[in-house]
Amino acid sequence: MQSKSSKNVTKDPANMTEYYKHLSLFWTDIIHLMSSKPQALTSIGPMRAFAANSKKIAVELIEINENLVGFNQYMTEYYKQLSETWRGSQKKVNQKAPKIPQDAEQIEAVKRIWIDIFDNDFTELFDSKKFGENYGNLVSKELELTKHWNNITNVILQSVNLPSKEEVDEVYKEIHTLKKRVSKLELKLKKEKRKNVN
């Protein structure tokens, strides 16, 4: 059986790229199919799945390491921002209350100054764009790490014939859609009934 692209190439040389694409796809697929047979034979069935799963987990672990670099970078910046603000606030407190408090009233007054300055400075930090952006990136990296962990868990779940997170989510979504449809119908019916009574 002759494929469409191989037919066209003889008539129209402009389709040369298409022809080579087809040629490459053909041999890639054929070699893959041919090679999988002896591999299946030697891997004795389930062990092949184990090998494939190990590969998937290894890939996830490599990506986790890549993400950890980014995560650490934002985490360092997060603590840097906190410690710089702390240092600045402490300086302000020292300027405002340079003497060591001598009695209970003075301790109370210094404590009040300390809390007010620290709360103001930290609120200013948390309200700033630089904090918001860095915190957003930090959380985002944390979520990427969680995603890789989820992927690893999914591989393990599937290896023991349990549904993956995506499959469970599909069920949840289906249930949600059905419940929503039913409750909307029920509500509509109630409203209609009430209308008819009135």
Partner: protein
Amino acid sequence: MLTESNIDPKIIEEILKFSKNVIDAPKLVSAPDEINLEVTPHEVVQEIDKTRLLHYKPLVETKYQTPLLISYALINRYHILDIHPQKSWVRNLLEQGFEVYMLDWGTPTSMDKYLDFDDYVNGYLDTSVEYIKNQLSIEQISLQGYCTGATIATAYTALHPENVKNYIATAPVIDGWKDTTVISNLAKHMDADKMVDTIGNMPPEFMYYCFSVLKPFEQGIEKYVKFFKNIDDKKYVDNFLRVEKWLGDTPPIPGELFKQWIKDIYQKNLLIQNKMYVGEELIDLKKIDMPMFTQVAVGDHLVSPECSMPLHYAVGSEDKTLKIYPTGHVGMIASSLSQKKVLPEMGRWLSERS
């Protein structure tokens, strides 16, 4: 440097007293877990999924025909509106002669991650309104929304104005771009899609983080020092533990609802621009044309007045009142100020229209 001879004896006295208070604390006060936050008697009249519609038992003869339904916030539970007999929002309204219902959103689980604004507005809230209408054979109710519950109530009122006789918005989250709080800064920089896709519901831990950045030293340290210092003051301790217990009970927020919340309100600011959709319906704030009462607090560090007040100017109502109180987000609903000023003013306004 302080030497032994010039240490103020009062300091030693205070340290010793404080240490004694810490040791005595477990003997004097209940553990938060032992405190019952359900203060005012009520019955659960309707349950749908995890939500419950509560009907409070009248404390005096009901004076007004139109009942009030309260749509509480999505953050923490409704108990703050009935936190203590002397500071209870609900009890005060009952004593004024109103019939009060409360919608408790419950505690969503992973299974509820697909619940969205449409489910809350056109599902749970609408079903509750219909229930009350049917039970009392009335055509309209009064609706009050608090905080994020007011955003849901605002959307509901705009979509179903025929059901709402009076609308009260208490610290509503409306104009996300004008919100000057730390929470809005975090929300604006958050990848809500990634969060929901990865972990499903918005986890309570994230909310605890948000709480921790609000006045971290006053709220995180000084508050507890004061608690132990005042351990003999029964009234103070009781109130403190109740509020603490309420603060620690933060249910997750359903993923889809949270996503729409962050994106449409804080990031794209669609609600105030009349561009937000709930389900397939566009919310037009001009459709809110019934009497409206807006309450905001100057010291609100969760929803700034700049975020709430635009609602007052955006609605179509001709009969509308805006009240600004010198207190904070919780102070407006659960304090002596709320009992002495906020609630009597709201009650007067509502009684004239109920």
